[in-house]
């Protein structure tokens, strides 16, 4: 298949990994399109990425203000129609604040901003975002955040049994104190995912690891399928 599926990358005021995400997705065969957060509509694409950064200066709570951006209405509709949405770091925080993903992201237990490679374990390889991975595969992907401590209340048990925990920090490598070592979750329909590690910073072994490319390439595969079958 030669089709390059369109992937929209939303640019919020304060996003700073939008261009890295676009570069990585382009290198993996997608046709990335940067979309300003003030746009009321999304272009016709196979997937949407909410990138990392510090949207709206992290005012109030990380992601709390970005969820009101005009484009988020379109993202919400896109997700409700089964469209693929991936939130990376700040994008994950935005999706949680918007109620599109379960849980909340709080200050790291250490209170320090953490920027380093971490090992994460793929809990499920049968999702649209991990199809290129193997079950229990360990990936090396960098994190860089101050508020990545994922928390959920009593619903954690339900999320676990529903298989919504897709990525966990490897034993002994939880950088932020997140509950149950959670590094990435999907919604119950399986078409929206968020993760704190930055796959777009790990798509070339020259930069330390190519493991993030497995996640983004899975997304590109799924986006291509959706474009070809006419399911956005």
């Amino acid at each position: 298949m030669s089709a390059s599926p369109g992937v929209a990358i939303v640019v919020f005021p304060g996003s700073n990994d939008d261009r890295d995400a676009a570069w990585a997705l382009g290198a993996l065969g997608a046709d990335p399109v940067l979309v300003w957060h003030g746009e009321p509509e999304l272009p016709a694409v196979g997937a949407v990425v909410l990138p990392g950064g510090f949207s709206y200066g992290d005012y109030l709570r990380c992601g709390a203000i970005a969820r009101f951006s005009p484009v988020m209405r379109a993202v919400r509709r896109f997700a409700a129609d089964g469209g693929l949405v991936l939130g990376i770091c700040n994008g994950f925080q935005i999706l949680c604040e918007a109620g599109l993903l379960p849980g909340a992201l709080r200050a790291n237990a250490s209170l320090s901003f953490i920027c380093r490679d971490v090992r994460v374990v793929v809990e499920r390889s049968d999702t649209l975002f991990t199809s290129r991975c193997d079950d229990r595969q360990e990936l090396v992907i960098p994190v860089k955040h101050g508020e990545g401590c994922w928390f959920a209340g009593v619903e954690l048990g339900e999320l676990e049994s529903a298989g919504q925990i897709v990525l966990r920090y490897a034993p002994g490598d939880n950088p932020n104190g997140s509950l149950a070592n959670v590094a990435g979750v999907v919604n119950d329909a399986g078409n929206v995912m968020g993760l704190m590690p930055h796959p777009e910073h790990a798509v070339d072994p020259l930069l330390g690891s190519g493991d993030g490319g497995l996640i983004l390439a899975s997304l590109v595969d799924a986006a291509r399928d959706r474009v070809l079958t006419g399911v956005a």
Binding site: A64, A107, F151
Partner: protein, 82 residues
């Protein structure tokens, strides 16, 4: 009418900021058995009845000012001085 909203980390939820504040106070020689750090939001609401103000601010808290999963809030109302 004015409203003051106090947003706190929910009871039982780890508050690393509060722990750091507690440790620092101890280093200064103060005796404290716990510290929690939250945030204060002062709102000017204009001319509005207290019951209506209460309901309105509750909605603000539910939709934006607090994240109910991890934070609790209290609302205090006072008349704006003439």
């Amino acid at each position: 009418m004015r409203a003051t909203v106090l947003v706190r980390p929910k009871r039982g939820i780890l508050d690393p900021q509060g722990e750091a504040v507690e440790r620092s106070l101890r280093q200064l020689g103060f005796e404290v058995n716990g510290a929690r750090v939250g945030r204060v939001i002062d709102l000017e609401l204009g001319a509005i009845e207290p019951e209506q103000a209460q309901a309105e601010v509750e909605r603000m808290c539910g939709q934006l000012l607090a994240n109910p999963l991890i934070e609790s809030y209290e609302i205090a109302l006072e008349e704006t001085p003439a």
